[in-house]
């Protein structure tokens, strides 16, 4: 299923109208260049940008492809449009996940936990992947200096 160049143009114009603060009319020209370029890619390109289940072009994968090929400066408006699109959430499953963590942390035995601490602990538990990436050396250093100074002044 593909649509004609005219239709792409019409749809792109509509997109520019909706997101007139983010997108410039250049989007139309960018698409006119990008679409034929994508068509002329080798066959394995298609499998690279397709969604596995629906076999449709996945904007997310096209976006990553543009980033990977370092072509975001060539297609700045396409880059913006795709980024806006993948930002749109479709489910609040992440919120539900946070509730599972909430139930684990604020449980029967820890019911008097303060709100601020609850947020802190939940954040650390949910974003543990981020927590692992963060270097704490600076933090530790600052902390030690702060405490030692306090101690010496006492």
């Amino acid at each position: 299923m593909t649509i004609s160049a005219d239709e792409i143009k019409k749809k792109a114009e509509n997109l520019i109208k909706v997101y007139h603060e983010d997108l410039q009319t250049d989007l139309i020209y960018e698409l006119e260049q990008l679409v034929p370029m994508m068509k002329s890619q080798p066959q394995d390109f298609l499998t690279k940008v397709q969604d596995e289940k629906s076999n449709l072009i996945s904007p997310f994968k096209v976006l990553n492809w543009l980033v990977e090929k370092q072509m975001i400066d060539v297609f700045p408006n396409v880059y913006i449009a795709l980024r806006i699109f993948v930002t749109i959430p479709i489910a609040n499953s992440e919120a539900e996940r946070s509730f599972s963590v909430l139930k684990r942390i604020k449980n029967m035995y820890r019911a008097v936990i303060l709100d601020e601490r609850l947020t802190s602990l939940t954040r650390l538990a949910i974003e543990s992947e981020l927590l692992r990436l963060i270097e704490f050396d600076d933090l530790i250093h600052d902390f030690v200096i702060l405490k030692l100074r306090k101690k010496n002044f006492n």
């Binding site: 593909t2 649509i3 792409i8 509509n14 997109l15 909706v18 603060e21 983010d22 698409l31 994508m38 969604d51 289940k53 449709l56 072009i57 996945s58 904007p59 980033v67 990977e68 795709l82 980024r83 993948v86 930002t87 749109i88 959430p89 479709i90 489910a91 609040n92 499953s93 992440e94 919120a95 509730f99 963590v101 909430l102 139930k103 942390i105 604020k106 449980n107 820890r110 008097v112 709100d115 601490r117 609850l118 947020t119 802190s120 602990l121 939940t122 954040r123 650390l124 538990a125 974003e127 981020l130 692992r132 963060i134 704490f136 933090l139 530790i140 902390f143 030690v144 405490k147 030692l148």
Partner: protein, 465 residues
Amino acid sequence: MVDWMNFLQKDSRIDKELVKQMESEIEYWTEILKRIVAVIRFLAERGLPFRGTNEVIGSPDNGNYLGIIELLAQFDPLLKGHLINYANKGRGNVSYLSKTICEELIDLMSKKVLNQIISEIKSAKYWGIIVDSTPDLSHVDQLSVIFRYYLNGHVHERFVCFLQIKSHTGEQQSIDILRLLEKYGLNIKDCRAQTYDNASNMSGKYSGLQACLKKENELAVYVPCVGHSLNLVGECSVNENIHSANFFYLLQNLYNFFSSSTHRWNILQQENGKVTSLSITRWSKRADAVSALVNNFAGIYNALNQLANDETQKLDTRHEASSLKNKIIKLENAFMAVLWHAILSRFDATNSYLQKVELDLNVATIMMFSLIEYLKNLRGDFSKIEKNSKALNTVIIQEYYDVNKRKITKKLNDGEKEQEKLSGSDKFRVNTFYVIVDKLIAEMHKRIEAYAHITYTFGFFYVIF
């Protein structure tokens, strides 16, 4: 001048010894803190509790935090020395093992994670917001705030904080959210989407949270959560018809009956039967309960039979068992089991797929359309489903309940024709089967409608070549 230069060199300063001591002390405490931070991180990322009933090193009740530090000290000479020299000294003595320091570090670490998230959101520029609330254990409503953004080839959905809300109105929640954004230095103008469940205080057209935020930024499109949408589709359709509502009550009753006593549960296990409770949160998880009945029908039936005929059981237990037994062998219920098994297994698989973070809306709507197609095909399969439900087990009654009912013959007046009355299979097909399937299809269409504006705007990206 040279003297001055020399003076600036640390070695020749009058406080040379002090500086040296200070430096070695800094090093010592840094090493100790590294270990403490690692322990806190370990506990925090697993969501484990920190503190116990006391703070005495050496006591088994001192909680996970001190417990792990003690454990580490067994293998780490530095920490071991530290515990010997500093532990259990009481207030006023610095050991860095107190709850105050621990709390301070937790706070600092979570702020650091928060700052990382916020700086990522800022460099991503565009973000979407996901909000949902739940009452917690102490009956306080926790509003969970999550940001979605694209950065460096990944879509992230990051938890930012809980807000404790006093008021449920959309206006108040929007004030809270806007205040939060201001605190973090995020601009509402960069918001491009908002997702909530379909609760009216959030999704309301005029004063829901989405409408209030839209007033601030019209580009913040509202996308109802697809998972919740599927849930609502299901819930509306189940309660549309008495047979399906009864059927799900029956499933829950089966579970309640077996789970309320260990003896009954054992008998069920011996018969290789299995029952599952209906999930309250996720509708499509009822698939588990339905498939438990379909796949273990004989086991459940035999267990009920055994309990009903067991003379050592209390009378009301036997009565309950036999009435449940009589219910599950009814053709109506068997039909419902087979039908809902067919529907729910597809719904459940789709629902799980829709929870992937990197999924986009068009694929989601296409998946939902494919469910509609599936339902449409199912609509033509009445006789097949009927056949399968009759074949579910030999004990299934082979006729619908109303067939054996006494027929009331109406005396006809002149010129009046006898009304055509449906019965048995036809009646069930028209009044139950079609009603359920059609309601499902209609509800699906209604929910998909909510995404039409976005698929209209962005949909062409899927078909550009």
